[in-house]
Assembly symmetry: D2
Homo-oligomer: 349 residues x 4
């Protein structure tokens, strides 16, 4: 098929850069525009942006001139939003109203009842909410969101357990990478030889977002899953890759081996299984005593796979385990792109 | 009073070095001997030991000649043991039989029914177990132990809550410093830009040791506290200072403010309150949103104080909070010295 | 004597904080005022400032209300300036005109012919320039400056060699700490698992400043020393402590042992030898193969001593060696305070 | 052509692992054997080896059983040696005598007059030394070596300058990665928040090896280049990628622009230009003020390219610049493989 023109909103920041990198040579999408703040508008991307990824900036992006973040300024059918949440709140509906599909990494609309909060390998059917969204809001475009980067890997692992055994409660603690805070983000003096035992607003997201994604879509919208979560979130001196340790209570008691097998066997819903960004596999279960580790395992499945390890009994609930997910690929830009692919595949663009 | 001669067993390792540093200018104790492995015996300490602390090696230690770890080789009334656990198992009873009080940082005897597992600010009365120990084993000396470095700060915080409100369950996750693994310990390639989500044998210790220390001493010895714990332990790129995040279920429901106040007000038992190494305060409660942090807070109270922060409601149990404790001071060498001070103060030497 | 009232300009930044910390319990000086930007003025210091030092904020500073950086706003005889260079350029002369002695850490006036660029243990006599400065500028106060933090330790070591053997050329490469860039300073994503091989404007300073300090003061002012320097400056993942490696050509050929002995024996000029902040010793020469190291050696002499190691032959020039100096103590706040002490001691206040 | 069977000696270490990874899917070579220490012999590779690379272990390697390091134990025409130097000294000649070409990363034979010290993009013609070696030693196989990882990138850059302008002296300082010390290598406590200003034996190698590679091969063997070098070597907290800053005196004075252009235009000798591992380009010259950086630039040209930046005037010699080279790819395993490719291409196998 001919390629679909897309734009990246907020393309100069660290997540924006990841969009640019992942969209390089994408089989379906072609970047038609990059937007940035007033300070950047009119400059070539290579000049407006302090590139922080280890993969080099794609050549086609270097000379692309930064546009303002408004629908008139660009021709695209899909816009990927790497905007900060407050700006996203204002700007994303403008694009949706103008007929574009906004695949957003921002938190602004995640809690809206008619906005899908989407991990295609978990709740691909929730993409159907865009029909209701268009109807109710009178938009020809739409907004769909991906969850917080810490919710992401955790929810994938919980989904596999929920499907196989039911799921009641989870106690989760994150050890999060620096890239999750954007650029310049965390000052080096705050994190060398240190841990920061808090990330503003993160715990509320991690305690709520999985419930929407693990909930069921009915005529009334999504019914939140009856799961209770407690989260502690921490920043550690890691560039990329969020570790989340979890203790869970399931619907039935199972052995660690059964749980590990269920996670390893978990498959995305059929509509999300063969897309360009589909994680292969969805979950990689490792058997070593000390894995997953961010530096060694974050690029599993091109950074789209959720890696799980140390599945073992928990003395209070049923099971303990460790998850790892690449926070700026699966947990941000790669996730939004995967969402867009699902939207296209479902004929909802 | 005239100073009590003491020895440090395993003085060249990282915990041994911390003993040497903390015993410098101690008001009660005077180092009479340092022991080391066969490879070190006969060498001056400055030559046998690769010093890794930021405080300089005390001058008196530099020329002290390393002795073998046997009672005949040294004159001391107290020996501080920084031996590895398997060696401690063999060697410590030999010293106890020879009439010396062994204050051990090793795990070898922590679970013995007649051996105190001691944090003086928590369970000073357990020191009385040494009478039973001497009677039963026919030793003129004794062994007393301090807990694992991760159990330490956690147990101090739990004790304050237990006393004030009762304590039923705790879910705890550690972010542990590198010095806890000794020297050379963790290879740098394993931890730069990384997290290791496991520390061998640590979770079992953290799930059991607090129960002994929070238990009550009766005629039959220590009755383990009826508390259930679940622990995940992780290694992070921090030199010193273990962070433990905890969610707890108390005996009664209390507000975070009440819990914080109880922790801030907690006092050591009278016999442990005015010793040279007594933490001042026992617990420091910080009100900032992002504290305690290892780099900024580990030296609170000369590294003997447990620092607590972020006391807040937990959606599953009652409360969440963060603890920090210096793992080689309060959690190792400083703890053993504090134990020895208690022993002396109680007239049990 | 009664204490001299002093102020700290730009007290909320990282160097400003170091001033506050070092002035705590200073025997001669008492902090009468702390100034900050418009955003901070009127707030208590504890609230206006994100404290990044490991030593706790002094109690007396917590409630001190931030004043604006103007002479009318404060009563002080000495003001320590931790202002950014452009602001220092405007503000410092205002204070000097108002009769205060400005001891500045900023680079703005270092190159002025009548402004001392001062390391008391190196060129204490240059403080006499303030007489000329007052005469020419008609100020009742004065400005004196300390050099760039990378020039500092290097110049101390070079001075010892220059005095003993003469000095012709030096090739120097720095590995600089993060605190030299202030706070928030270097983003963590830029330095974890990385080196930044440039620090803007630093090389020019390191190639010029030592020549002024090693120059001789005559009737015409300071004649720059006839020394040629080449510098490469790099940022590494270290919190505090600048390492500079150097290769030098001396006036005469000497053995590494002679050079090391000359550095170890070097003494400050008499007027700078017994001040409260005098480094004790001025230079500590270490004999180990792998020292000095920032983490282990930066606090030598309370952070005021220059540490030198690895003195050995150089195949191109005469000698190679390594220097280490604490960049925010000797190289910044501590240096300015030492300068102020010299000024007082010389009766020039 | 059919693939040439090769073996990796010392395959379980960090350089050995890099060989295994780089030989995966190599167009000319097929791994027939992996050797290890007595402790590993007989075990499957996946079990014998603690894999520390971020690329996953190739599937074919997992079940390969570790052989002892002796020629009888394996069938191969080329053996890649990742042995420690003392073991290499004993073992490599045994393989050469047995008819195999030993491409060694060890330092044991680098200084032998009849052993090529080889960077194909620099001195491809030196491979001809193997004829003399075979003749003199009566070997049917041969030994060829690649230089120390710190010499590597530096020598490539110096070669481009030598060819274009002549080269007289160089002053060089390294900031070296941890992987250069192998695994477990540098303890984390030695390098977090620290720099180690020495690497045993490294400076001698860096001051000598470039002279052999930049020398000319005549009837009498290699005449060392008339270049004088001074080196300081340092370890920093970087996983991979050695930075070397250099100041050089050329044969003629040139502008930084001319020098940068010469380096960017430099081409490998024709015989080394189109091999599977040939760096493309040989040198990448970057124009930014703060590049190259290890984390961002080490994988340039799949880790085989030498990256140069900050070419600028030097106040003492002619020019200053910064080089970066991936120490375990171009500077170790990748270099040995490139050497083997040259040997095959020259018909010398």
């Amino acid at each position: 098929m001919s390629q679909i023109p897309v734009a990246v909103l907020g393309a100069t920041g660290s997540v924006g850069q990841r969009f640019v990198s992942l969209l390089d040579a994408h089989p379906w999408f072609k970047v038609a525009a990059l937007t940035g703040s007033d300070r950047s508008v009119g400059k070539p991307y290579a000049q407006a942006c302090r590139w922080v990824l280890t993969d080099p900036m794609p050549e086609w992006a270097r000379e692309m001139v930064i546009a303002p973040s408004s629908p008139e300024a660009l021709e695209a059918r899909i816009v990927f939003s790497a905007l900060p949440s407050d700006e996203a709140k204002e700007v994303e509906p403008v694009f949706a109203r103008a007929g574009m599909a906004v695949c957003s990494n921002a938190s602004a609309y995640r809690r809206e009842a008619d906005v899908p909060l989407l991990l295609p390998e978990v709740n691909a059917d929730h993409v159907g909410l865009v029909r209701q969204q268009r109807r109710e809001r009178g938009w020809s475009g739409c907004i769909l969101t991906n969850p917080n980067c810490t919710s992401t890997g955790l929810t994938v692992a919980l989904k596999a357990l929920q499907d196989a055994f039911g799921l009641k409660r989870a106690f989760v603690v994150s050890l999060q990478a620096l890239s999750g805070a954007g650029y310049p983000g965390v000052p080096s003096l705050d994190i060398i030889d240190n841990v920061i035992p808090n990330i503003g607003g993160e715990e509320e997201k991690v305690e709520w977002e999985p419930r929407k994604m693990l909930g069921s879509l009915g005529a009334e919208g999504v019914a939140l899953a009856e799961i209770r979560l407690s989260a502690h979130t921490n920043r550690v001196a890691v560039t990329d890759g969020h570790v989340v340790v979890a203790s869970v209570e399931l619907g039935v008691e199972v052995s660690p081996e059964e749980a590990a097998a269920a996670m390893a066997a978990y498959q995305a819903p059929p509509s999300a299984r063969e897309l360009p960004s589909s994680p292969r596999p969805v979950i990689r279960v490792r058997g070593e005593a000390d894995r997953p580790q961010p530096r060694l395992d974050r690029m599993t499945g091109n950074g789209m796979t959720t890696v799980v390890g140390r599945v073992r009994p928990d003395p209070l609930l049923h099971l303990k385990f460790v998850t790892l997910s690449h926070n700026t690929i699966r947990g941000a830009a790669g996730g939004s792109i995967y969402n867009a692919e699902l939207l296209v595949n479902e004929g909802l663009l």
